[in-house]
C-alpha cells in the first residue's frame, strides 16, 4: 500500500508518498506560498531529479490538486492512478487531552478536532485545512490524523501540572502537553532496536534539536516528562524561541517598553533564542563559525544552549532514576558534534561519556558514539516523522480503526 503523508502549514504543505512494502519514500516535496503570488511546488521523485512547478495556487484544495497531479504526471510521477493512494496520514500539531493515539477521521472526530483549534491557533487550523482538502479531492480514501502531542499524553500529573490555580487547568486545559511526539517516538524505537532490547526495559532520553527543540524522558516506552509545555515555547533554547524564562520578565518588559500582546509574542517566539543572544543568526552553523573566529556573543549563545540542555539531561536521568541511552536527533542533534560534546561534558560522573572520534565522524547517520566505559549510551539517530505518520496510518486502517 502507498500512503500520502501531509503536513499542512498556513501557506505551505509538505508531502511524502511512502511505499509501505519497503517503507521508503517514492517522492517528497512541498507547496510553498499558497494563496500568494509566486506559489511554487517543489517535487522530488526518488529516482529522478527535483522539479519546480509554479502556478496560481490559491488555497489548500488547489495545492493538494497540484500534488496529486504531479504524483500522477508522466515525466515526474511515481504512480499511474489516484486509486493507488491507499490512505492519507496528516500531521496534527495539538490534539489536546482528547487524543492519546492516532485516529481514523470521521464526522464525529472532525468535531473533536475542531475543538482543538483554540489550543494551537497557529497550527491546528491549517492542519484541518489540509484534511478538508484531501477529503474533497481523494473522496473515500481513509484519512488519519497523527498528533504531535499524543506521545506525551501518558505523562503523570506531577509532570504536566503548572504551579498555577487549578481552575485554569479546568477552564482552559492549561497543562504541559509537549510536542515533537512522532520524532521522540521514532528515535526511541530505533534506539531500542540498536541496543537490541525492548523499549519496555529501557530508560531513554531523546533530544530533538532542530529549529524548535525539545527533550523527553521515555521510561519503559512512556514519555514521562518533556521540555515543551502548553505551547512549543517552553524548555530548551531554540533558534528564535527563548525556552524557559522567568514569566515575570515578560510582564516587566511589556510594561517598560509598552508592548502589545502581539509584540510580546513575537519577541519571545521570533527575536529570542540563539538569534536573540547572538544578535547574528538563528542557525547553529553560522554561530559555530562566528564563535570559531572569535565572536563572543555567538560563543555565549552556544554556551547557554548547551548548558540548558545539560541541565535537562541530568534532570531527566534523575526523574527516571537512571538512563540507558541518550539520543540526539533533529538538524543540530544529527549534524553538530560540538553541541553533543558540550552538552554532556560535565556528566561523566553519572556514566555519560562520548568518544570524540566516533562523535566527530557521525553526521546524519545512525551511530553509537559512546566511549567504551560509558554506562549511559550516547547515540545519533536521524529522525523520520513522516515514516511514523505513514506507519500509524497503515496500522490504523488495517486494524479496522478500533483505537482512539
Amino acid at each position: 500500500m502507498k500512503i500520502l503523508v501531509i503536513n499542512a502549514g498556513s501557506s505551505s504543505i509538505k508531502y511524502q508518498l511512502i511505499n509501505m512494502e519497503d517503507r521508503t519514500a517514492l517522492a517528497k516535496g512541498n507547496v510553498a506560498r499558497i494563496g500568494m503570488s509566486g506559489a511554487v511546488l517543489t517535487h522530488k521523485p526518488y529516482d529522478r531529479p527535483e522539479v519546480k512547478v509554479s502556478g496560481e495556487i490559491l488555497d489548500h484544495i488547489m495545492a493538494i490538486e497540484y500534488v496529486i497531479a504531479i504524483l500522477l504526471s508522466e515525466n515526474h510521477g511515481v504512480i499511474k492512478d489516484k486509486t493507488e493512494i491507499g490512505a492519507v496520514g496528516h500531521r496534527f500539531v495539538h490534539g489536546g487531552e482528547y487524543f492519546e493515539n492516532s485516529i481514523l477521521i470521521d464526522e464525529e472526530k472532525m468535531v473533536q478536532l475542531r475543538k482543538c483549534i483554540d489550543l494551537a491557533p497557529l497550527h491546528n487550523p491549517h492542519n484541518l485545512r489540509g484534511i478538508n482538502a484531501c477529503q474533497k479531492i481523494l473522496e473515500g480514501v481513509p484519512q488519519v490524523a497523527v498528533f504531535d502531542t499524543a506521545m506525551h499524553l501518558k505523562m503523570p500529573p506531577k509532570a504536566y501540572m503548572y504551579g498555577l490555580p487549578y481552575k485554569l487547568y479546568k477552564r482552559y486545559s492549561i497543562r504541559r502537553y509537549g510536542f515533537h511526539g512522532t520524532s521522540h517516538y521514532y528515535v526511541s524505537l530505533r534506539a531500542a532496536d540498536m541496543l537490541g532490547k525492548p523499549r519496555e526495559e529501557l530508560k531513554i532520553i531523546t533530544a530533538h534539536l532542530g529549529n524548535g527543540a525539545s527533550i523527553a524522558a521515555i521510561d519503559k516506552g512512556v514519555s514521562v516528562d518533556t521540555s515543551m509545555g502548553f505551547t512549543p515555547l517552553e524548555g530548551l533554547l531554540m533558534g528564535t524561541r527563548c525556552g524557559d524564562v522567568d514569566p515575570a520578565i515578560i510582564l516587566h518588559v511589556m510594561a517598560r517598553e509598552e508592548l502589545s500582546l502581539h509584540e510580546a509574542n513575537t519577541l519571545l517566539n521570533k527575536h529570542s533564542g540563539l538569534l536573540g543572544i547572538s544578535g547574528l543568526s538563528s542557525d547553529m552553523k553560522d554561530l559555530m563559525e562566528d564563535a570559531d573566529s572569535g565572536g563572543k556573543k555567538a560563543a555565549l549563545a552556544i554556551e547557554v544552549y548547551c548548558y540548558r540542555l545539560m541541565k535537562y539531561i541530568a534532570g531527566y536521568t534523575g526523574v527516571m532514576s537512571g538512563c540507558d541511552a541518550l539520543v540526539f536527533t533533529g538538524g543540530i542533534g544529527e549534524n553538530a558534534p560540538l553541541i553533543r560534546k558540550k552538552s554532556t561534558e560535565n556528566l561523566e560522573f553519572m556514566g555519560l561519556k562520548i568518544d570524540d572520534n566516533k562523535n566527530n565522524a557521525s553526521i546524519r547517520v545512525e551511530a553509537d558514539i559512546s566511549a567504551g566505559d560509558a554506562t549511559i549510551k550516547s547515540m545519533v539517530i536521524p529522525t523520520n516523522e513522516e515514516l511514523v505518520i505513514a506507519t500509524d496510518t497503515y496500522e490504523l486502517i488495517n486494524s479496522g480503526a478500533k483505537q482512539a
Binding site: S11, R33, G35, M36, S37, E56, L58, D59, T240, E257, E258, L259, S260, H262, E263, A264, T266, L267, K270, H271
Partner: protein
C-alpha cells in the same frame, strides 16, 4: 475569495498602513500616488515604520523584506484597471473623493469593487459619483493600521449584499474584527472619540489642568492605554479638525464645533507627531520628548 493584487490610492499614513497590512497577508499591492517622488516617499515611510516595529520586536527583518517585496509604487491611477479591488485613502475631502471615484469608475473593470477609507464622509455621496453605487463601500481602519484590530465596514444606501460580504471577508482575512455600520456621519469610532478629544482641549484651554495631567487622569481613571491629547497628536490635529468640521456640517450640532485652541494649533502648523509638535513634543522617530513641557502652548 483571495485577491491576487489590489490597488491602494493615496500613500499617506493610512494608505501606507493599509498597503502594509494587505501585503503581509500575501496579496500583492500597487500603491498609487500622484507622482514618482510621493510614491517613493510612501515606500520609505512604510520601511521606516516597519523598522520601528522591528525595534519593538513586533516584526522580523525577513518579514519586512517579504512585505516590501509585495508592494509596488506607481504614479498612474490607470493601474486600477488591472485589479478587482481598489482602496482609496486620499485626503478627507468630499470633492476630491468624488472626482477620484468618477475617474475610477471609467478606468476599472465593471465588477471591480471600490472601497473608501473615509472616516466621516458619506459613502452614498461618494458612490453617487460613480455608475456602480452597488460596488462602492467604506472600510474604515484606525491608525496604526497594523496594530488596531478593528475595521468598520460601512454600507452606503445602495451597497449590495455581495459587496458587503466580500469586504467583510477581506477585512477579517486581514486579522481585523469587523463591525458593520450603517452610513451615518462619523460611524461609531470617530463619532464618539472626537467630542472627547475636543473636550480635553477645552479643559486645557480653560486652564483647568496641564496637558500631561489631563492625559494621565483619563488614562488611569478609565483604564485607557493612551490619553486624549496624545491620541489627538498621533491622529494629526489637522485630521481631527477636518473630522469635526465634517461632523458639524453634516449634523449641525454645537458639540462638534472645533475648540479654538485646536484651530490655533492647526493654523500654527503644530499638527502633532508628524510635525514633531502638538500638545507634546516628539523626536524624528515619533517618540515623546518627555523632559520639557510646552509652556508656550498657553501663550498661543
Amino acid at each position: 475569495m483571495a485577491f491576487q493584487r489590489i490597488v491602494v490610492i493615496g500613500g499617506g499614513v493610512m494608505g501606507q498602513g493599509i498597503s502594509r497590512v494587505v501585503a503581509a497577508t500575501g496579496t500583492e499591492v500597487t500603491l498609487v500616488e500622484q507622482n514618482e517622488e510621493l510614491a517613493k516617499r510612501a515606500m520609505e515611510g512604510i520601511g521606516e515604520h516597519m523598522d520601528r516595529e522591528i525595534e519593538k520586536w513586533g516584526l522580523t527583518s525577513s518579514e519586512k523584506k517579504a512585505i516590501l517585496s509585495r508592494i509596488t509604487p506607481k504614479w498612474d491611477v490607470k493601474e486600477a484597471a488591472k485589479v478587482r479591488m481598489v482602496i482609496e485613502s486620499i485626503q478627507e475631502d468630499i470633492e476630491a473623493k468624488k472626482a477620484l471615484f468618477r475617474r475610477l469608475d471609467e478606468i476599472c473593470k465593471p465588477n471591480t469593487v471600490l472601497v473608501t477609507n473615509t472616516s466621516t464622509l458619506s459613502i452614498t455621496e461618494i458612490a453617487a459619483a460613480s455608475n456602480r453605487p452597488d460596488k462602492v463601500i467604506g472600510m474604515h481602519f484606525l491608525n496604526p493600521v497594523e496594530k488596531i484590530p478593528l475595521a468598520e465596514v460601512v454600507r452606503g444606501l445602495k451597497t449590495s449584499d455581495e459587496t458587503f460580504t466580500t469586504i467583510k471577508q477581506f477585512a477579517s482575512e486581514l486579522g481585523k474584527t469587523v463591525i458593520s455600520v450603517s452610513e451615518y456621519p462619523g460611524y461609531v469610532t470617530t463619532r464618539i472619540i472626537v467630542p472627547m478629544l475636543n473636550e480635553a482641549m477645552h479643559v486645557l484651554m480653560e486652564g483647568i489642568a496641564e496637558a500631561e495631567d489631563i492625559d494621565t487622569a483619563i488614562k488611569l481613571g478609565f483604564g485607557l492605554n493612551i490619553g486624549p491629547l496624545s491620541l489627538a497628536d498621533r491622529m494629526g490635529l489637522d485630521e481631527v479638525m477636518s473630522w469635526m468640521e465634517n461632523l458639524l456640517k453634516e449634523l449641525s450640532e454645537h458639540k462638534y464645533n472645533p475648540c479654538p485652541l485646536l484651530r490655533k494649533m492647526v493654523r500654527a502648523g503644530h499638527l502633532g507627531v508628524k510635525t514633531g509638535r502638538g500638545f507634546f513634543k516628539y523626536d524624528e522617530e515619533g517618540n515623546r520628548i518627555r523632559e520639557e513641557r510646552i509652556d508656550e502652548l498657553k501663550t498661543l
